[in-house]
């Protein structure tokens, strides 16, 4: 025995890198887990937490770095490898087979359940029963997974991990879809598992939970490990500082404009995901919206744009009542929405740059239903120059462009439509620095022209830079309002991650 190994370290990851295309999700991240501890993996959206969890569970492969289990270097090339090493994962979007029964979900692909040639339901029952009891899931083994509640599905997924003899269980944002009582039950289960020596990696960005459930927390930022703290001797503030990191110098935009008339006013706006949201945005103003994924920030856009049904409250545009029933209605009322996911919700990947850009304004570029091709081609020119759109030719398929240029094509669609109120949902996600700068400049220009801009962003420095005022959404409610000049990243992150006290007065 040459060197002394820390026996208590059950899992160690060092120098883990992972990139998707040109974008690094992890840059030499490290992480180490002790036997029988609950260890939080924390960070902002895009910090790399989920990627690291997936690598440890064998569902993504690292480009570099080493993973050791009980001090031995291991290769985790597939979920089956992870299973052999005793590593189980509970995904945020639970990876159950909805049409299979609870029992079948546990035994399928399970190395500890020797399959016969014939499905033997009694054997499945005998195998599953103890694990279901262990997690406190009382449903019949023949219940289809789809018939379970989200909380029950999660317990089922944990039972499956236990049945695979997992000594390390990774949980990726396990409470994001749970109601309070289900979350409580989960916390008790986690405590029970720890008692029995199971180690748990708890991926989350909810502060309360972490300080309640976890022994230690490792913070990731931009794909790197910032540090690990004992929750006993640390504080929410310290962790938030680690998550936010470098003190970015906030450049206030030169020459703040006096905001104009109220362009959009929401009073007690409620939808399935929003709870009594009130705000207004004026012409010439950029209203920033901060919040975690799932906080209701995208749902706010969906409500304003006539996609989500509005269940309560009122909207006004330039003082007139506004009740959008469809995106079409929203567009004709002068509202535009740049959606969060440009590939899924924005672009027609098989169509050309030009066709994508002009899609929403075709009636204007046609006569009696026939396109005026020359006019269409000409319409893009000024907009493309303004966006500094870089594409070889406008008839190229939009799929051939870089992410930043694809986003510009989508922005071109809205510039052509020229709405008074423009909701930009995370417009710089996954694009290069140059394109980001172009988009910041554009936001500035549009505001200067008297447009009312609502800007959602996952990046706080970006919000602080671009917005005049900032609202923080948390679980569908506005939890803070700031003047952007006075707000700090710490304040915003705290308002975005602190649990919202369930108000007794409201439903």
């Amino acid at each position: 025995m040459g060197e002394v190994k820390t026996v208590s370290e059950i899992l160690q990851a060092e120098g883990i890198t992972k990139h998707y295309g040109g974008v690094y999700a992890l840059k030499g991240a490290s992480f180490s887990l002790r036997a029988g501890e609950v260890h939080a993996l924390m960070g902002e959206n895009g910090a790399g937490k989920s990627t690291l969890a997936r690598i440890l569970a064998g569902s993504a492969r690292a480009d570099g770095g080493t993973v050791r289990v009980h001090g031995e270097p291991v290769e985790i090339a597939s979920p089956l490898d992870a299973q052999r090493l005793g590593i189980g994962i509970i995904y945020q979007e639970l990876d159950l087979f909805p049409n299979l029964t609870a029992g079948e979900n546990i035994v399928i692909g399970n190395l500890h359940f020797p399959e016969g040639r014939v499905v033997d339901f009694r054997r499945i029952e005998d195998f599953c029963r103890p694990f279901l009891r262990q997690v406190g899931l009382t449903c019949a083994i023949a219940t289809p997974a789809a018939a379970l509640s989200i909380g029950q599905m999660q317990l089922l997924a944990i039972a499956r991990a236990l049945s695979m003899d997992a000594r390390i269980i990774l949980m990726d944002e396990p409470t994001s879809a749970l109601f309070d009582d289900a979350a409580e039950r989960l916390f008790r289960l986690i405590a029970g598992l720890r008692e029995r020596g199971v180690s748990i990696v708890y991926v989350s960005h909810k502060m309360e939970e972490i300080f309640r459930v976890c022994d230690r927390a490792t913070v990731l930022r931009d794909g790197e490990t910032i540090g690990t703290v004992e929750t006993q001797s640390s504080s929410v503030d310290e962790v938030i500082r680690m998550m936010v990191g470098r003190e970015l110098r906030i450049m206030a935009r030169a020459g703040r404009r006096a905001a104009g008339d109220v362009a959009l006013k929401a009073e007690n706006l409620s939808t399935a995901k929003l709870k009594s949201v009130s705000f207004e945005v004026r012409r010439g103003e950029v209203l920033g919206i901060a919040g975690l994924v799932g906080s209701g920030r995208s749902e706010l856009g969906a409500a304003l744009f006539g996609i989500d049904r509005i269940t309560g409250g009122t909207l006004r545009i330039a003082g007139r009542p506004y009740a959008p029933g469809s995106p079409r209605a929203a567009m004709s009322a002068g509202v535009g929405l740049l959606p969060e996911d440009r590939r899924l919700q924005g672009l027609m990947m098989r169509m050309s740059v030009l066709e994508n850009a002009t899609l929403a304004v075709l009636p204007r570029l046609s006569r009696l239903g026939f396109l005026r091709m020359g006019q269409e081609a000409a319409s893009l020119g000024p907009v493309a120059r303004r966006l500094a759109l870089d594409c070889p030719w406008v008839t190229a398929p939009v799929s051939q462009l870089s992410g930043g240029n694809q986003q510009k094509v989508l922005l071109a669609r809205w510039l052509l439509l020229n709405p008074d109120v423009l909701f930009l949902d995370d417009p710089t996600r996954g694009i290069d620095i140059g394109a980001k700068q172009d988009i910041y400049r554009l936001i500035d220009e549009l505001a200067a022209e008297g447009k009312a801009i609502v800007l959602v962003s996952s990046e706080l420095p970006e919000l602080l830079h671009c917005a005049d005022r900032i609202l923080v959404l948390n679980e569908g409610r506005i939890t803070a309002r700031y003047d952007a000049r006075e707000a700090t990243q710490e304040m915003i992150l705290s308002a975005a991650t602190t649990a919202v006290p369930s108000p007794g007065a409201q439903r």
């Binding site: 469809s326 959606p339 899924l344 672009l347 027609m348 239903g369 026939f370 091709m373």
Partner: protein, 317 residues
């Protein structure tokens, strides 16, 4: 750099040229030594033979571009033959135009119903049109009491109709006009753009405020309408209203569309491709028949061609 669409079109065109050459080479010769395949009569026969499937495949291209499918076109064609023949032979009208118009409008109505159900319920088009394929076939059989309605060769209205609309020039002309229409509408109109956009990414079409439902209703209506038109031509050519006509035509039409490079998943495809696909199938059939290949063997060869054609046009990723 040519875009991938052009490249694929070039490939299917190359396939057509290849089959044409093969057909010329293998063609039996007439007594004067000329190749039968190349005789004007034979070439126009090919065009006339592909016209009905050709018309069906044009509107099928739109349906498939939106990401849908229409399995009911064969049944609608049968309904149209029945309605045409009934109106002409039973004295419901004294005007050929009225009979044709009724048949075509009835067919369009069935198509519109398909479209409305698909747009309103969001049940998969495969299922909705499978249902109407069965139901409309039943309707045609019920209307005709399961009998063929013969159109005679005399001097009556029905015979006059048949003699006009079985003319090669009329049949081929109808296909050519329909092809030109579908081509222009797809390439040059707002509607055509919407058809492709909806099939490319329906979610994004919603976020762009496009009239998704209206677009869908229209493509199925057009599919019904042109199936009806094909039915009118079928009735004239075969001198009968036949409730059993057009069985499996939907599959031939779909085959022509996919051979022409249109993706079944929607969003990508062209009318020119579909025309080439239809021609490939027509020339192939003609070549095999000229060489007295057993019609069962012909089906097997077609099967291979379909898979090959789609395999070459696959995008490499």
């Amino acid at each position: 750099m040519p875009d991938s669409g052009m490249l694929r079109r070039a490939r299917s065109l190359a396939a057509l040229v290849g089959i044409l050459i093969l057909a010329i080479v293998t063609s039996p010769t007439a007594s004067d030594g000329s190749r039968i395949f190349l005789q004007a009569g034979n070439l126009t026969d090919i065009l006339r033979q592909i016209s009905l499937i050709g018309i069906l495949s044009l509107s099928m291209t739109y349906v498939i571009l939106t990401g849908g499918i229409d399995l009911s076109v064969g049944s609608i064609l049968a309904l149209s033959t029945a309605v045409t023949a009934m109106f002409l032979t039973r004295g419901y009208t004294t005007h050929i135009g009225v009979a044709i118009l009724t048949a075509v409008l009835a067919s369009a109505a069935v198509g519109a119903l398909n479209g409305v159900v698909i747009a309103a319920t969001r049940i998969q088009p495969f299922i909705v049109t499978l249902a109407s394929m069965i139901g409309v076939r039943g309707l045609a059989k019920w209307l005709t009491s399961n009998q063929n309605i013969d159109i005679g060769f005399g001097r009556d209205l029905a015979a006059e109709f048949a003699s006009i609309f079985r003319e090669k020039a009329i049949v081929i002309g109808a296909y050519a006009c329909a092809a030109a229409l579908f081509w222009v509408v797809l390439a040059r109109t707002v509607f055509g753009r919407h058809v492709r956009a909806v099939g490319d990414n329906e979610k994004a079409a919603e976020y762009a405020g496009l009239p998704i439902r209206t677009t869908k209703i229209w493509v199925y209506t057009l599919s019904g309408l042109f199936s009806g038109l094909a039915g009118v031509l079928y009735a004239a050519e075969n001198h009968q209203g036949n409730p059993n006509a057009g069985v499996a035509y939907e599959l031939d039409a779909i085959a022509a569309v996919v051979i022409g490079g249109t993706r079944l998943s929607g969003g990508k495809g062209s009318i020119s491709g579909t025309i080439v696909g239809t021609l490939i199938m027509g020339v192939l059939t003609n070549m095999l028949r000229l060489n007295n290949v057993d019609s069962n063997v012909e089906m097997m060869i077609k099967a291979v061609i379909i898979v090959l054609a789609v395999a070459v046009q696959r995008e490499r990723n």
